[in-house]
């Protein structure tokens, strides 16, 4: 790497001046121009999953995560087109179906916006993707059910999501509160009879191994029976 070179002092003065001026012009130009990120407000149309796969050059995991960082750079304001956003999330999930990043962002960021229409669209996207891989994606539909119940105050929607989790998820690591979610939503809907039947079924199925939890649920069942007059 070594090479013979003349001392710096032997260089002509005009060359130092030209280098200094060019460097100052470059830094000045960049310092006065606006950062790229703040200008961007419109999300481009989503690429196809196949297009993304082609662009990944065999590194779909890396490209999927970088694409999520790209999506994150867009402001969540009303200009953000949710149809396009969902298209992007769908394509990224297709690129790496095992990544939790797109559904995390969908449930924790994009579904928690104040606009109910956009939140509902995102919840429906989470539901659609949950059905593709229920045992891996149930946490996001559980979060969607909680959002539907507490944020949107849409109990029928929350119940639908809770029922879907109960119906399609077979993984052993699903906590019981998730399985019981439908019971409590039915109780909130004042559908006590349905809640009683569901809770009774759950207790009889033998899925509840923890004695304290079983005692609590039995107590809940007795309370429901009292309230329904049985």
């Amino acid at each position: 790497m070594k090479r013979d070179a003349r001392p710096l002092g032997s260089l002509p003065a005009w060359l130092w001046f030209a280098l200094g001026v060019a460097l100052a012009a470059q830094i000045g130009l960049r310092a006065t121009s606006r950062p790229v990120g703040t200008e961007r407000s419109e999300l481009p149309s989503a690429p196809s999953a196949q297009g993304l796969r082609l662009a990944s050059f065999g590194e779909p995991e890396a490209l999927g995560r970088v694409a999520m960082l790209y999506l994150q750079a867009f402001d969540l304001g009303p200009k953000l087109d949710y149809t396009r956003l969902i298209g992007w999330l769908r394509a990224i999930l297709a690129l790496d179906p095992r990544s939790q990043y797109p559904l995390f962002a969908a449930a924790r960021v994009y579904a928690e916006v104040p606009d109910p229409a956009r939140a509902r669209a995102m919840l429906e996207f989470i539901h659609e993707q949950y059905l593709v891989d229920p045992n891996r994606r149930w946490p996001w539909l559980a979060h969607a059910a909680l959002l539907a119940k507490h944020r949107l105050r849409d109990l029928p929607l929350a119940r639908r999501y809770a029922a879907e989790i109960d119906r399609h998820t077979t993984a052993g690591d699903v906590p019981l509160w998730v399985k019981q979610m439908e019971v409590f939503i039915l109780e909130d809907m004042n559908e006590l009879e349905a809640a009683r039947i569901l809770l009774g079924g759950l207790l009889e199925s033998g899925q509840i191994g923890d004695a304290d939890e079983a005692r609590f649920l039995r107590h809940k069942l007795e309370e429901l029976e009292r309230r329904t007059g049985r």
Binding site: Q50, R53, L54, G58, E59, R65, L69, F104, R108
Partner: protein, 253 residues
């Protein structure tokens, strides 16, 4: 053993040309990127760092190998060093394979150095398989670059054709999937295009199936799948070496 001397010369040339410093700079860049990514990730920070750093280091390793082989071989040809070698009482296969072994060792060294930082985020077993795969992938690129550099005798042309072959090989599975997609009309032209794509794919290695970030993030691949992918790389390296030797034997003194 003449071939071993050539191998050593190749490694010396790489060291004197500053390749270790370039490799360390690539490593530093990747680690800086990992630090930045850990700050911006909302979730899965570990897998984000792992996927991006592994993909970047893989690209840097392949680029360094391709450029080192092309520049070194073309410089030797321009300095008439190759002609001098050809006039010596050395078998041509020894000359060619000695050089190729040197470049393959270079690729293996880069793979080991680039795999080491991945141990921070991934299991040793997965990193070891990734490193073995990168070493063989680097050897394949070295074999391609050596073939193109000796054939084309121009560094830009050699690097461009090596990069073209490499990128096409990594994209071919996606291109085939697009060509066979359910929305493609079953017209004669489309059928012909699909046949052409499948025909080109027959001549390319499955680079999309090797050195995968997936192994590091989701766990090591099964042994049979890994061995068959490595076997396919070895066959393609042998093909490129045979093609290069074919051309080298035809070269006049």
């Amino acid at each position: 053993m003449p071939a071993a001397i050539l191998t050593r010369l190749v490694l010396l040339d790489a060291r004197r040309g500053g390749l270790p410093w370039l490799a360390l700079a690539g490593l530093a860049l990747a680690l800086l990127l990992a630090g930045f990514l850990s700050q911006v990730a909302l979730t899965e920070a570990r897998s984000l760092q792992l996927a991006v750093v592994a993909a970047l280091l893989r690209a840097v390793a392949v680029f360094l190998v391709a450029v080192q082989v092309s520049a070194s071989v073309v410089r030797e040809m321009n300095d008439k060093g190759l002609e001098l070698m050809l006039s010596l009482p050395l078998g041509r296969s020894s000359q060619y394979l000695g050089r190729l072994a040197g470049f393959a060792l270079l690729a293996a060294a880069l793979a080991v150095v680039f795999a080491a930082p991945l141990l921070v985020w991934a299991t040793p077993g997965a990193v070891a398989l990734w490193a073995v795969s990168l070493a063989l992938e680097g050897a394949l690129v070295a074999a391609a670059a050596l073939f193109f550099a000796l054939t084309l005798a121009q560094p830009v042309a050699a690097i461009a054709t090596t990069a073209g072959l490499y990128l096409l090989a990594r994209s071919m599975a996606a291109i085939q999937a697009i060509a066979a997609g359910p929305l493609v009309e079953p017209s004669l032209a489309n059928q012909a295009a699909r046949l052409c794509v499948d025909g080109v794919a027959l001549l390319l290695p499955r680079l999309d199936a090797v050195t995968r970030s997936e192994w590091l993030i989701y766990g090591a691949p099964d042994a049979s799948g890994f061995m068959s992918a490595m076997g396919a790389l070895a066959i393609y390296i042998a093909l490129l070496a045979a093609a290069g030797l074919f051309d080298f034997y035809r070269r006049s003194d």
